[in-house]
């Protein structure tokens, strides 16, 4: 699919033009020209560098600064915030929310990705069979991914409503008892994971599908000639050849899922209690969740989250680099 867009625009180069500068007057020395070219090159880059410094580096620096000081709303106004070193981090580690938040972050990320990836892979293989309407239906699968998260999250909230939700209604019609999806501490995390899996399937489907497109059909034909059946073809050809793409899909999924905030906040606000609180939620709760914000611990939790995200991020870059080589 991507190749349709990133197609090389065929150049309409007038023919007969000399490629070298043979007929031109002598140019300035190589060194000088190189320096001038570099100046132009950096002129074009300058806006984005300035942008990154002001709108990425500085907020992140501010965040680190917040986490090693004792900031309150007052400190913003009078500019006084005592330096406390790692005290905020120590306080975070000893906080009773830390353990549950860590476990929930791991469960939320791990379970979400396991399901998103498996379902996405199954659907990619299914849609790759190229039946009538397959491309239209595959396009429709993208819809959940493009909707604003607040739309998806509030729709799931109502579907999971204990008394009037359609999901409990279906469970009851099969003779089961309704579940307090969003209000029971046992189910709240499951509920947000289900909604998150639903949102993540399209992304996995699209990337794995583009990976399938890059596998040569000759291999499958050869396998058919050798009498391989469908499951052998999947496990012996598709799965091994998709490994590089799978690794990238999963690592990107990790980076994205660690960041998830909107869905959980809108559906449960991390509750009841802290039963669906992840690091992202905890950080927001501390910083913006109450009328008396605790910016410094919030920033400390945030920095912890950045470190985790960056570990997976660098892993992703390594894998991608190895594939390019």
């Amino acid at each position: 699919m991507s190749s349709t867009i990133i197609e090389r625009p065929e150049a309409a180069v007038p023919d007969g033009r000399p490629a070298t500068n043979a007929g031109l007057p002598p140019r300035p020395s190589l060194k000088k020209r190189f320096r001038a070219d570099q100046l132009t090159a950096w002129g074009f880059i300058a806006p984005v560098v300035a942008y990154l410094v002001i709108f990425y580096a500085y907020p992140l620096f501010k965040n680190v600064d917040l986490s090693v000081r004792d900031y309150t709303v007052r400190s913003f106004i009078d500019g006084n915030a005592p330096f406390v070193g790692f005290a905020n981090f120590t306080a975070i580690f000893q906080n009773p929310t830390f353990g549950p938040a860590l476990v929930h972050t791991l469960l939320f990320t791990g379970i979400s990705i396991a399901f998103q990836f498996t379902i996405g892979m199954a659907l990619a293989v299914f849609f790759f069979q190229n039946f009538r309407l397959s491309s239209t239906l595959r396009a429709l699968f993208l819809v959940p991914w493009l909707l604003p998260l607040i739309v998806s999250a509030s729709t799931w909230s109502w579907m999971m409503n204990s008394d009037s939700g359609v999901i409990n209604s279906v469970i009851q019609s099969f003779g089961g008892t309704g579940i307090n999806w969003l209000t029971s501490p046992h189910w709240a995390l499951v509920a947000v994971i289900i909604a998150n899996i639903w949102i993540g399937i399209p992304f996995n489907l699209v990337i794995l599908y583009s990976g399938l497109q890059n596998i040569s059909t000759d291999i499958y034909e050869a396998a058919s000639l050798d009498g391989a059946n469908a499951s052998q073809k999947f496990w012996r050809i598709t799965f091994p050849l998709l490994k590089p793409v799978s690794a990238i899909t999963i690592l990107l999924g990790l980076v994205y899922t660690l960041k998830v905030f909107d869905i959980i906040w809108i559906m449960t606000k991390g509750g009841p209690g802290d039963s669906s609180t992840t690091f992202a939620i905890w950080s927001y709760q501390l910083g913006f969740g109450s009328t008396l914000p605790d910016f410094s611990p919030a920033a400390a939790v945030g920095n912890l989250l950045i470190v985790i995200a960056l570990i997976f991020g660098f892993l992703y870059l390594r894998v991608q680099k190895r594939q390019d080589a």
Binding site: Y51, I150, F261, A309
Partner: protein, 288 residues
Amino acid sequence: MSSITTRLSNVAPGSRRRGRRTWHKTLLGLVFTAIMLFPIYWMVNVSLTPADRMRSSPPSWFPFAPTFDGYIAVIQQQLPYLGTSLVIGLGTVLLTVVVAAPAAYSLAKLRPKGGGALSFVLLVAQMIPQVIVAMGFYAIYLNLGILNQPAGLIIADSTLAVPFGVLIFTAFMSGIPDELMSAAKLDGAGTMRTFLSVVLPVSRNSIVTVSLFAFLWAWSDFVFSSTLNSGGDAQTITLGIYRYIGNNNQDWNSIMATAVVASIPATILLIVAQRYVAAGVTAGAVKD
């Protein structure tokens, strides 16, 4: 949509036989799609269900007696929010393209020293959780006194799209043949002129892809809206829905009607620009 229809009409000869053999797969595909899109159907269904039927058990699976009260409420109460989101979305698109496109041109064609490091920083930038960037922005905006300003929100929203934009533009612009640029140079065009009148027009497709995602992300943003712009006059539609849920806890008919209206841009973009969407999802993640 056009790409879908052409693909359907271009089916190879002999496909009629294939079509007969694969009808059960089509059927299965329809079932999968129906399950996947069920929440969206349910959102539309609830948005048309009258308030007195909302809590009936079992819930009504089809709006036999649809009400448009929810949509009337949207028009009466949410229009300003939709307007704000539109302005912020367009502002984000503009800022993103203006900052990202020249940098990508340089990275792709002008071989700047340290370009590799910059690409690396841009990749890493995409991995930083939004909640944390929001906190940094909050601290800075509070100091500068520009909290609750639409301009501040546009800047914050653009941080989602600028790194992505540079990467997409770079991937595309590296594919532009060097001959095209040498030709412009021989005709006496400077680097700026070449960029504006040769590179940009040729890169139209990638501009569409980047704009589309920049707009959708800004339109859908909740974290920045709720932290940097929760107290101002001009508030976004995501915050509108959020407030709605908070204030009218029981009025799901209107909440879902607002949700349906907020989904319209995504739906339109998917229909008219499906191939650009798929390109944006895969580019950057997988290299062909």
